[in-house]
Assembly symmetry: C2
Homo-oligomer: 239 residues x 2
């Protein structure tokens, strides 16, 4: 299933003892519709406050309800801030996380002297001057296969910190700067740490050459702060 949600009211995607989660809401909804106690697998474990337009989940069900009817039934019992966008059949070996070829995240900065109203839960409000040309100049350093350890939340324990970034661009409108990044995988907090570092570059606190050194150093302490969760959205998962 392809799932969209506003993460504001949730403690993240993944099941937790304390606080409501997207996973728990979807599993409850499936239980209501099919009577089956099912665990779903998500493509990405989005954090508290992070949104999704194209989160993807898989599960096994014995239900005979046709896809479109099943989707409508789920949407009718789910909270208003979670929407099932697509239900379809997958091959038996499909795994929402491991089968993914790449994922696209979008990080939204609201860059205006006036604070956001309608967008306020989906953007990081940054009213201070930014040199966007400087931010654009470092994007080529991000694209390609690199060890992104400098942009991984400290304390993470995983096998490899090498990821391949296929696309990284800034889409600038009158009041927004959107960081669009597609990669074969993401380290924990990777997009938010890149976003926070880009802000420092835009402010002139880090220059382009330093940025390349930050990547090469593989040291989280050299990169910028983690940008807030609510600016982030899991836009699409590609299989």
């Amino acid at each position: 299933m392809v799932v969209a949600y506003e993460g504001t009211a949730y403690a993240g995607f993944q099941l937790q003892k304390n606080g409501p989660t997207i996973q728990a809401e979807i599993e409850k909804a499936i239980m209501k519709v099919t009577g089956e106690p099912i665990h779903i697998v998500g493509a990405g474990r989005t954090d508290a406050g992070v949104h999704a337009w194209g989160q993807t989940v898989n599960f096994k069900s014995a239900t005979k309800i046709p896809f479109l009817k099943f989707q409508k039934a789920l949407n009718s019992v789910l909270p208003r801030d979670i929407v099932i966008r697509l239900v379809t059949e997958a091959t038996p070996d499909f795994h929402a996380q491991h089968s993914a070829i790449s994922k696209t995240y979008i990080y939204r900065f609201y860059h205006s002297s006036q604070r956001p109203l309608f967008e306020r839960n989906f953007v990081y409000y940054y009213p201070y001057p930014l040199q966007i040309d400087k931010m654009n100049k470092v994007l080529p350093y991000i694209i390609g296969e690199h060890d992104f350890k400098s942009f991984q939340a400290s304390g993470s324990l995983i096998q490899t910190t090498i990821r391949k970034v296929n696309h990284c661009s800034l889409d600038v409108t009158e009041v927004e700067i959107r960081l669009i990044i597609n990669a074969n995988g993401f380290l924990y907090h990777m997009v938010r740490n890149i976003a926070g570092t880009l802000i420092q570059i835009g402010r002139g606190e880090i220059n382009g050459e330093d940025f390349q050194k930050i990547i090469e150093a593989k040291d989280r302490k050299l990169a910028g702060p983690t940008a807030p969760a609510h600016g982030l959205c899991l836009q699409e998962v590609i299989y």
Copy 2:
């Protein structure tokens, strides 16, 4: 001042004993910034759940704080769902309601098989088939000076129900139908009653000739139902 707000959490613009209002929040904010117990006058008394992008308010203050600083101070103490977009000086005889030449309202229908997620508090979700060409055909009957009594909430007591509609159009995108209407004034529930009647026309329940008769009859009972508040937004007040 030009004020934008999301009306979802409020019992409407106008001060009330029960429930939070936009007016009360703005007056509290002015009190915090200037220490003055002030009553503001709004251009339109939006109902509970109705939003505004260009609500306009006036008041008298003895404050010496420059406009931009005053605006920033207000925005820093106001709730996140209310934003002051502009502060400026008005002539002594300015009255936000009586000085208005015209107002523009937008009513948003979300017309898709999939329910809205991010837009859910700002659109009326209408998933059923609509013949938009039929809706477009009756718009010329709305434009011009007419007695709009058929579209006024029953029980209203006002001097005249004649209003002049300068502009009335439908802006149709992939998932939305937006009714954009500008008039020299609006009767109570007028936009929502026109919106509800347009839906009946789109469904084929009322035809174009009947629509003209509904206007001429000056009888609320002949027009369609009142469309829900949360689809409506006071877009702009023109002086």
